[in-house]
Symmetry: C2
Subunit: 334 residues, 2 copies
Amino acid sequence: MELKQPYLLFLGDAADPLAAKVAQGITTWRPDSCLGQLRLPACNADVGLDDLTIEQAAQQGAKTLVIGVANRGGIISQDWISVLIDALEAGMDIAAGLHNRLNDIPQLVECAKRCNQELFDVRFPTQVYPVANGKKRTGKRILTVGTDCSVGKMYTSLAIEHELKQRGVAADFRATGQTGILITGAGVSADAVVSDFIAGAIETISPDNAAEYWDVIEGQGSLFHASFAGVTTGLIHGAQADALVLCHEPTREHMRGLPDYKLPDLSLCIQRNLETASLTNPNVKFVGVSINTSAMEEAQALAYMAQVEIDLGLPVVDPFRQGIGRVVDRLLEC
Amino acid sequence: MELKQPYLLFLGDAADPLAAKVAQGITTWRPDSCLGQLRLPACNADVGLDDLTIEQAAQQGAKTLVIGVANRGGIISQDWISVLIDALEAGMDIAAGLHNRLNDIPQLVECAKRCNQELFDVRFPTQVYPVANGKKRTGKRILTVGTDCSVGKMYTSLAIEHELKQRGVAADFRATGQTGILITGAGVSADAVVSDFIAGAIETISPDNAAEYWDVIEGQGSLFHASFAGVTTGLIHGAQADALVLCHEPTREHMRGLPDYKLPDLSLCIQRNLETASLTNPNVKFVGVSINTSAMEEAQALAYMAQVEIDLGLPVVDPFRQGIGRVVDRLLEC
């Protein structure tokens, strides 16, 4: 699966900026992939791109309309569908990471077929992946892991890719979730792969490469998440990471979705991730910690991070507040 | 999914007894579920049941024809299909754990529909499972784990179930692979579940139960298998096991399918399984080790097991040579 670029980002009737966070992510990390945004009258979000009609976007060469908004109640409204049909008829593919599939809407399927365009439901893999073979691959790999789900693994991975490229180091972000796939146009939604093939899927999206090239692989879940650690384990084994970055959100009171489960101690989390990752790469090491301190005051955040840095002996940053530079320094030293 | 019993076991044109090992397993562990066997002229296997025609089996009340043989080259031959059609027309369902699906053969699908019978491809889950919630369930659970794939986890689990029942302890085997499902008529093929739902599937097949009741959950893969450890991790978390039994095959030179990977040290394997299992049940403990010594001479096997017993401080048995009694003794002591 490879989405064609450039994109027109569909913000729909986003209730607030948070509802359009997929569009915001694409705009932040791949501004050159975005021609503009398309907003319906009720839209309360704005990612700062030019507002374009379908016709204008098509004239400027848009190849894919990306649904960059979470739809309300899981229903794709008739207002949306008429826009999507216009996009197909104007020669664009459509890509979405929604729970409900574009490919389950007969009007869209029929129109896409007639217009010879594609509908990409990036949350649902269509490719058949092999069983992992565990063989050492050439090139280098860095993987983000976490204390929990949704603690900033995608953001951290994209920041690392950006920083490496800024420094002239060859690198590519490897997406393992739907938002990451929409941002880069490729990848695999790891949690939707049949479990026999998780590690194999990650081996596939991060193949042999030049010796000095870095794959920056987006992690998923947590070894300490009682619902999703299977995904995390397969992902870690398939990644064969040379370097790991631990991601954490310090204000969370329990594991996401699991009120009975506390977050793990950071040292223990580091130890377990090293144990798991060393199966397929015995030389794996941690190169830093990425803290999402968005729920903390700055002084509190800085004090917390300074303490974690002393406790763990690794560079500790909030990539949003401070950039990921110190983690990349450590990565390139190793 | 629940297969109707009793069964007629189809041995087809099994090349040798090993090709009919599914039929052998069902006969060994659920003799009361089996009315007879059906063999084609070229069959070189015999599980010791009465040879019945479709007509005889139907008259005796057979409810499901179970394909108890591995087919050659993944192709279901026309010879098989005519037998399967006869079975459907005689009022039986058909169940198989093959890689290729009964439901992909138009002749069978059409016939099953016409006869109002069902085709069960037990390798492929049709049920939608929830995300695991990690909540403590009532009842007790024992899980088999392994150093590798195919080291005797199913056999050991079935032996434990049998021994518990012999002693008057309420227990049920919970199948997580296709052979186990065919033996018991229910369960989930864990490695075929979408990875987000592995732990949830295991929670589902082992629900709340009476306080003194034992679920004996069949393990899959190994935490040390670079291809399948994701499945194993999710299975362990969903099981919330109170007790674990380690299964091992001592003569194996490398992990199954992975020539570059050695088998783990038994102590390390115990430690890692306890670490993983303790996330959802902090009181988990090992109650024994089950060794498959089929490739060893008896004297060598006994000496090996005696040494492992000294090293690990747990009852060590080959359930095929010695029965699983000493492991169940330890289980019931705890």
